[in-house]
Each structure stands twice: as structure tokens, then as C-alpha cells.
Symmetry: C2
Subunit: 346 residues, 2 copies
DNA sequence: CTGAAAGCGCTTACAG
DNA sequence: CTGAAAGCGCTTACAG
């Protein structure tokens, strides 16, 4: 298994290195017997073309860059898995980095990716203002596809979810259940996901002619701790909400912890719906009603967009928007037995 | 941001390309003024050495391969995060792949990693019998460090956890709580983790002079579904166990789901302790008592071992074994109020 | 259809 | 201490 090069294969097959290369990248016609000899030799010797050399010479790369903004988030895990699977099927590798929601780190990684010679980049940007940075990077001719979040003032291929509608549906569900005082724990306002899910919340209240109360609108940063802190604040209100819509999975986990500690019963005292489903959402306490994103499809679609872009560099940019769906379990109170009188008090 | 090469820097600084290279890899003395000119020029032009070229020529690589056996498992997420962080601090990138517990896929990825020219490899092997495969790979001079699992008949650097002791502690805890009929849902017997955690279970029972009952020993495959199926089987026994030790996080989640569906109360009817803690284990239903692994340290230590190996290729192989600790919450029944009479019936 | 040769962007003996 | 040159393993015009 010590390194066998194209020269070894050429010698073994009795042809030139050019011919070996041609056969293996089969873009051009090679006589059948030569082709066969080369294939046999490569097989025999266990030849594996050196990717670094290939990349250097041909400006052709088999590696995909994946820049995730928070690798601890279960949401992204599923995406990573999908990207990995899809890349594997195309015989590409993926180099992964975690920008940790930090624009500076993202900037550094962008340069690493360039130096690494990736064929293309899938990135969940750290900020709506990353447009300029990303556009500058795109000058290198390395295509970018945005994942999960969009960016202002710049056009890229993107795959996202219909956040407004997802949030709307969740809040509407609470309203239909009879809740009137519904709070929101929103996500980062410098992220499109944060903005859009908040919009969905507001739209749903307005559509039901319900007031939007300032004190019931709390903005966090999509991390566990902020969900925890904000849920505590809401529960401590003199006139606390009867339901909360939480804009992502991590904050939902934080909120659940806070309410547990406070001995606030979910859903009896306060109902909860979270954005993002997780494989174990049904085992949480209580089983979580959640807006489920098609994470696997998101990742797969991102790779597809990237590959299409590589094939057609000048095609118009395309945004693929996928729908979410609500999974109703117990935290929203849908299973609660209540009488009419009680309902009007929610 | 279009590509600037070493030639551009050399021209700009008025030196040869060799000098630029020397300054940037500062292994050799260069006159201070030249050095400064080069540094300025590089800074000025935003020079980023082409990694593919570097790898090709110098056989020096800045990329670490990370081969994970199940990227969906929250356990590995934390490890990935640690590896990523640590690599980043050393200015290295990581190329990730998911072998999906499949030896064939692992084999393919091994070749990809070689072609990719990684500096070294961190791998959680798919099977104790992967020794031969990995040893063959090691012929390429690319060092390997094993993570989480060991392999038979082959020596590598490795970072693992004391599984026997971790499992022992968990089962001992159950025994101390008064449980006598304790079942186990074990992991894959072709993995050292599966074997060792089972051993810990057996050791603890023996130490307490408790019998090991065949029907209370169920072996799964570390996936959710097997935890689910096996928990159902145990609960359906004519004389079901009063406590279960589950050998990993995913199977624990499956067991929780099964018991919920069966309306078996945890811990009142059957107590549960799982191997592996998760950030949201406290929010599960009920809050989970678990054997916590120092996942972040595991990942960090793996990178350290790899870097040491790169620096000293002939040092003796080293296995770093980290300790786990038990986090007591509610699923084990520690918080249950019981009287003496009841205890003797467990 | 096939081979000899140039060259991708680096690093590193080899001279001086 | 510094530069000219060779060469890492490929691919791709350029001839034939």
C-alpha cells in the first residue's frame, strides 16, 4: 500500500502516463485494448490518483468545503450527514469547519478553504451582513451555496426553509388550541432565520386579531442559555404567558430546563412549541411539539445546487425553499382535557 | 482575492521564491531586512500558500482526517467539535468522513484519505477486526490514532474511556439503591466498547454476589431501534427486571421510547441508567442518570496524540484512558421515596 | 488515437 | 545567507 503513482501504472500497462490519465478521466477516446490494459494495471496496483497533484495541475478538485455555524447544534448534524452521504456518492470528500457563529473565524476559514483548493463551498453564514465577505470570496471562482440562512445584498444559490410559514403554523396551532397570551423566544435578529420566524409569529397573531405585547417578545441568540434565561423572565412576569413559541431547538431545551426548575408544568401552566425537531424530541419531558425541518433534504439539495453550479457557472442563481411541518406531541397542550370555561381563560 | 502565488510575493519583495518559502516556513535563517520585506509583501498581497502544491512537493500536510463511525450520534458530535477546535488552533483543517459502522465504507475512505494526502488520521474503527486493514494503511506512513474503540492484534496510539469501570459504577449504583434484578442492554460485541461495558455489568453483579441471568442480558447494536426492541422484550418478560443498564445513548433513547409506549413508569416500575450523557439528558423524561464521558477531552487528546506521533514517528505507542463519571438524576430512582419493605422486593 | 513535454505552485538539496 | 534549478504527481495543449 505504499504510494503507487501514475508512472507505475503506465509502466505496468506499457503505455504513456498521458494515456493512463486519459483513461481514468475518460473524457477522450482511447483504443479499447489500451484502455483495458490501463484499467487492469490500475486495479492490480491499487492505484489511487494523488488528489493534491490533480488539484494543482488541473484546477479540478474533489473536495467540498462545508462551513457550519454551530456544529453542536443537532440541526446541523443531520445536514452534515446528508452532505457527507451525497458527496460520498459522487466520490468527493468534504472538509468541515465550524465558524462558531463568529464572522472573524468565518473569514479565516474562507481563506483556508481557498488555500485548500475546494471545488465549492456550502456555508451557513454567521450574519446577514456577510454578503460582502462572501462576494469577495466568490471572486476566486469558487462557487458558494448558502444553507439555512440568507445574506443581504448578495446573490448566491441557497437552500432554506420557509421559516415564516413554519413559525406561523406553530403559532396558529397554539391559537387554535385556545391560547391567547402567546410569547415568543426569538432568535438572533442578525440572522434571516431569527427575523423570519419572528415575522411568522407576528403574522399569526395579527391574523387572529391578537395584540403583540412587547413584554411577551424576547429575543435570544439561538443558544441554550438564552432560551433558559428568557423562559425564566417570561415565567416571572406578573401576568405570565400561557404559551411560548421558541425559535429553535437549543433555546427550547433551555426553556424546558428553566420551566422544570421553576416547577412550571408544561403544558398545563405554560404550553410550548419549538422550532426544529430532533430524533429524541418524543422522549423529552414533556414530548415536544415542534416544527420539523427536512434537514437531510436540505443538505442533499445544497450539494446538488453546488454541483449544478460547477457544471453551469453562469446559470441564474437559484433559491430552493423547503417546507416544514408541525409535529404535534404533548408540550403544546393538544392532548390536554379541558372544559369550555377554562379555555376562555387561556 | 484572485489567486496570488509565491511568485507574486517574491516579485513584490524583490527576492527569490526560495527566500519567500524560507521566511514563511521559518526553519532557516534569513536576513532580517529580507524577512521583513517578505512578510510585508505577503501581508500586503494577502498571500495564502497553495496547500495542494505544498503537500505535493514537501509531503507536508495541514489536513487531518477524521473518520467517524456514526456521525448522527451526539457522542461523536462533541468529539468532532473538539477535534475541529484543536486542529484550528494549530492552523490545520479537518476532512471528515462517516463510515456508518461499515467496514467496506471505511476501507474506501481509507484510500480517499491517502489520496487526499492527510497528515494523519483519527478513526473510530467499525470493528475489532479492523486491525489488519488499519495496519496496512499505516504502511503509507500516515499515522493513525484510534478513538473510542480499540482494535485486536494491532498497536496504535489510542484514546479511550475506562468502559469497564464506567459500566461497573453505573450498575453498582443501581445495586446500592437496592435493585437486585438488573438487566443490561449491551452494545455490539464486535466493538471493544460493547464488550467492555458488558464486562463492567457482569463484574458489578458478581462483586455483589448477584446472579447473571441470561434472559436479562440482551445484546443490541448501539442504535436507537435495538434499544427500543430490546427494552420491549425485557418489559414483556413474565418476571421483568426492576432496573436496566443501557450501554449507550442511542439505545437509551430507544428504551425510553419503548417504556413510554408500554406505560411502564421510569423509575417507579423500571429504573434506567444509560451510558453517555448528552447536553439535554436533564430534559428527558425522566431526567436521565448517565455515565458521562469527557467527550471534548477525548477529541482534544486524539489530536494531541496525532501531533506527537507526527513529531516523533518512532515513539512507543500510547493508549490514553480517560475516566467517566456518573451523573445522578431521576431515571435511576435515586430520588424515589421508598420504605424498607418495598426495597427488599426490588 | 497516442506520446513527449510543459507546467500547476510549491520546497529543498546544491552551489556559491 | 541567498538564488537557480530540479522535481513532487498529475493533466493537457501540441504534434504526429
Amino acid at each position: 500500500m505504499s504510494t503507487v503513482t501514475i508512472k507505475d501504472v503506465a509502466d505496468y500497462a506499457g503505455v504513456s502516463r498521458a494515456t493512463v490519465s486519459r483513461v481514468l478521466n475518460n473524457n477522450v477516446t482511447v483504443a479499447d485494448d489500451l484502455r483495458q490494459r490501463v484499467l487492469d494495471a490500475a486495479q492490480m496496483l491499487g492505484y489511487q490518483p494523488n488528489r493534491a497533484a490533480r488539484r494543482l495541475r488541473a484546477n479540478v478538485s474533489d473536495v467540498l468545503g462545508l462551513m457550519i455555524s454551530d456544529i453542536q447544534n443537532p440541526y446541523f448534524i443531520s445536514v452534515v450527514r446528508a452532505v457527507e452521504d451525497t458527496a460520498y456518492a459522487r466520490r468527493m470528500s468534504v472538509v468541515l469547519c465550524n465558524t462558531d457563529e463568529d464572522p472573524a473565524k468565518q473569514q479565516i476559514y474562507l481563506r483556508v478553504m481557498q488555500a485548500e483548493g475546494v471545488a465549492g463551498l456550502i456555508v451557513s453564514p454567521t450574519h446577514v451582513d456577510d454578503g460582502a465577505t462572501l462576494r469577495a470570496f466568490a471572486q476566486t471562482q469558487i462557487p458558494i451555496v448558502l444553507l439555512d440562512r440568507q445574506v443581504d445584498n448578495a446573490a448566491f444559490d441557497a437552500v432554506v426553509v420557509d421559516n415564516v410559514r413554519g413559525a406561523y403554523t406553530a403559532v396558529e396551532h397554539l391559537i387554535n388550541l385556545g391560547y391567547r397570551r402567546i410569547a415568543v423566544i426569538g432568535g438572533s435578529p442578525h440572522l434571516t432565520t431569527g427575523r423570519e420566524r419572528l415575522r411568522g409569529y407576528c403574522d399569526a397573531l395579527r391574523a387572529a386579531n391578537l395584540p403583540i405585547e412587547d413584554r411577551l417578545v424576547r429575543i435570544g441568540d439561538f443558544k441554550i442559555e438564552s432560551g433558559y434565561a428568557l423562559a425564566r423572565e417570561l415565567a416571572a412576569l406578573s401576568h405570565p404567558p400561557r404559551a411560548i413559541f421558541v425559535a429553535n431547538n437549543l433555546m427550547t431545551l433551555g426553556a424546558l430546563r428553566a420551566l422544570r426548575e421553576l416547577r412550571v408544568r408544561v403544558p398545563e401552566d405554560i404550553a410550548l412549541i419549538g422550532f426544529d425537531d430532533m430524533p429524541w424530541s418524543g422522549e423529552l419531558c414533556p414530548p415536544l411539539t415542534a416544527v420539523s425541518q427536512p434537514t437531510y433534504e436540505l443538505g442533499r439539495e445544497a450539494v446538488t445546487l453546488l454541483l449544478n453550479r460547477l457544471a453551469e457557472p453562469n446559470a441564474p442563481f437559484r433559491t430552493v425553499s423547503l417546507q416544514t411541518h408541525l409535529i404535534v406531541r404533548e408540550s403544546c397542550g393538544a392532548l390536554l382535557q379541558r372544559n369550555q370555561g377554562e379555555e376562555s381563560a387561556l
